[in-house]
Amino acid sequence: SGPQDGGASSGGGDGKAAKGGKLTVLNSEAQSDFDPARLYTSGGGNIPSLVFRTLTTRNRAAGAAGTKVVPDLATGLGTPSKNATVWTYTLKKGLKFEDGSAITSADIKYGVERSFAAELSGGAPYLRDWLIGGDTYQGPYKSGKGKKTLDSIETPDDRTIVFKLKKPVGDFPYLATQTQFAPVPRDKDTGTTYEKHPISSGPYEVVKNTNDGERLQLKRNTHWSQKVDDQRKAYPDTIDVRSGLDPAVINQRLSTSSGDDTAAITTDTNLGPAELAQIGQDKALKSRVGIGHFGYTDYLAFNPKVKPFDRPGVRRAISYAIGRSSVINAVGGSSLAEPATTFLPNQKAFGYTPYDHFPAGGNGNPAKAKEELRKAGYPDGLTVTLTHSTAEGEMGPKVAAAVQQSLAKAGITVKLKGLETNAYNEKRWDTDDTPGFFLSRWGADWPAGYPFLAPIFDGRQIVKDGANFNHAQLDDPAVNKEIDEISGLTDLDAAAERWGALDKKIGERALTVPLFHPVYQRLVGKNIQHVVISDWTGVLDISQVAVK
């Protein structure tokens, strides 16, 4: 009995949402990156999306509807050229920065350009990979070598901006949701210190930013207008973001919900197993829990270059042997994770196509696993090493121990090898040194198949001397070709269907053992209304929240 789907859209969501009031945000991580060039996720996550508007944005709606991409600064999702290599956007009229000056296409171009500067590292790799000249461009600052402007972005007039790509990209509207596409006025750019007070194009502007984003006080941006922004609701007058809190304390505060905490939410802290157990049957408390799904898959990764994982039989045996119940219990039980048999997340937007090539049930299928082992030449079982992170969490020791336990039943002895987070990441990303068998996970940059499958299975995305995510180092021309073809499609629904088929096909090779898709459960304060949780982010959308 899994949790209800993300349609559970509102906590205290009855009553009419009203403007005004102060919203408190209790977070554990500081917003230490607050420069649009540095942010990674679409819209830079929750808080940045209150300050940065982008060409397009995610649809602020609950559940599956929320996986759609919609226009934001632009009037539409962009006009592709015939082969989807040139994308043209037109800006809405009457767009203004917080100082009242107009937002022009040049500001957007500059925002994209400065994201190439080494000083402002971070962000997703797509712009470099896709824009013509993106691989060599070093940004508009003095320190960068070569030309200071990027010619593949054109601004024929103040409201038009054109992007020229190396190859067909059907997903470009999704990419345009990222904060690199937020406007930055060149004369207000202060380089690395810009993040102290980025110039707002959204409904709120920064009043005070203390301790490198540890405390952010935001107030309404009077130059923002609901008329030119149909996505953000901006009910509260002020927003106070306090971070650096212990997750246990955040949840406790939200559940106690007294004083300022009655109007508090968190944008980064999930309920843990113990807290869920405690909430248990408490109806009042339960009604304040928002449940969401984000496109994420935790899986066991194989590196077939390492023996004995070069034998498909061994990989299949492990796929059969895995007991997902134990693994799911290790991360907090069925209300915090759903068993995964597909690599793609179980959402339509990704092209989810159900399959279970190696049915293991909840507790594994040791008999089948043993049979596979025998066929692979290991009639007496075998001993393997599972590499994992020592940090608590989904790639941490608990999950590793659960895997160890369930494989033991099939005669597979698992030795655990825990590495400290940095060492672990370095190792699993290192093409020459990738362990044979380890815990890994992948999340979507946007709800579509491309960013989910390409980095993992595209042979041309195997990265030497850097962070490689194609752990299996699969380089199959057929797969590569299919990826190219789908990614050129501008019909996103048609593309989704083909991504699902591709996933199912790759799944047969048992290069990964999908374990589970995490479920997010988060508390809000008593007086919080209008909780909207989309399947794009899986967590409540701060721009929709109202305070009673």
Partner: protein, 329 residues
């Protein structure tokens, strides 16, 4: 090791003709204090339980590693089914939330690791502390300055941070308990060394040290024969305070993710994962923290008792005017 040191007289072995006569006196004085006897018994029981962990779990029929998915409520965060954290005839102290592993087995096995780590680290702390303290007290002014300043910094450096750094530098297949022992031992000897330095400076002025030198003893011989025996008493009492703090430290290191490796159980590591559970499954928190508390209490009581038993002033408590008076004795 230190555990044995403290308990040695309790083993009842006949005292050697040498210094044991003193130890025997201490033991005699200890024996007359009920609190010391109880504390000693508790520690002995713990030690025994740790040593006999496989035996005990054989009796209970559970091992510390097997998962029991059926015993936990997966839909509600993995809390154990049943009252008091799933206590039952088969699982005497209930099971671990999330995994359903037997808590009794994990606690007794955890005692092994925790006591081993704490005692091992203690040994190292005492070794380094005594050597550095002695060297500082007996070396020239330069050596003293250098060692004392290093000790200052050691005492006060954010130990957890260095611990994090060190544990990440060391190859991961290095045995964790040993690593913990090394890290805790290598970083937390400042207090001991200060104590030893101060005591040695006092001792050094005593005439029997001069007499030994006159008798032709070299510096090492003087240290070994004249000083170490006198240092033993304060160091032992100090150790009684250090040991429990080592257990707590193990917990803190686990909390920061650098404790012993799973699935090996250890008290500190159990505690660090248990914190959030104290409302949903209080037993899960109470058991390891209760045990820890009992251990700390027992060590402190015993340490106090040993100290008073070793203190000649306490021994001659009849001395005039040193006691507060009651109306009539």
């Amino acid at each position: 090791m230190a555990v044995q040191d403290v308990l040695a007289p309790g083993a009842g072995d006949p005292p050697a003709p040498g210094p044991a006569a003193g130890a025997r006196g201490v033991w005699r004085r200890l024996r007359t204090r009920p609190s010391a006897v109880v504390a000693g018994a508790v520690l002995a029981a713990l030690l025994l339980a740790a040593l006999a962990a496989p035996l005990l779990t054989a009796v209970s029929g559970q091992d510390p590693y097997t998962y029991h998915d059926e015993l936990v409520n997966s839909a509600s965060g993995g809390a154990p089914h049943g009252a008091f954290g799933g206590i039952s005839g088969t699982h005497w102290l209930g099971v671990e939330p999330g995994t359903g592993r037997d808590l009794f087995a994990r606690l007794v096995y955890g005692a092994r690791v925790s006591l081993l780590v704490a005692a091992g680290a203690l040994l190292l702390q005492v070794l380094i502390g005594v050597s550095v303290g002695l060297a500082a007290a007996l070396g020239n002014r330069w050596a003293d300055q250098v060692l004392s300043r290093i000790t200052d910094v050691m005492v006060a450096l954010p130990m957890l941070v260095l611990a994090i750094a060190l544990t990440t530098v060391v190859p991961e297949d290095f045995p964790r308990p040993l690593l913990l022992i090394l890290v805790m031992g290598a970083l937390n000897w400042g207090g001991t060394s200060r104590l030893v330095r101060a005591q040695t400076l006092t001792l050094r002025r005593l005439d029997f040290v001069a007499a030994a030198r006159l008798g032709g003893s070299g510096p090492l011989r003087v240290v070994r024969r004249e000083m170490l025996p006198s240092l033993a008493a304060p160091v032992i009492t100090h150790a009684a305070i250090l040991l429990p703090s080592n257990i707590v430290l193990e917990a803190s290191l686990s909390f920061l993710g650098i404790g012993v490796k799973p699935p090996t159980p250890a008290w500190g590591q159990m505690l660090s994962t248990a914190t959030t559970w104290f409302r949903a499954d209080p037993m899960y928190v109470l058991l390891p923290s209760g045990l820890l508390f009992v251990t700390v209490l027992a060590f402190t009581v015993l340490g106090d008792a040993v100290r008073t038993a070793l203190d000649p002033r306490e021994a001659s408590r009849l001395r005039v005017g040193t006691r507060k008076e009651k109306t009539r004795d």
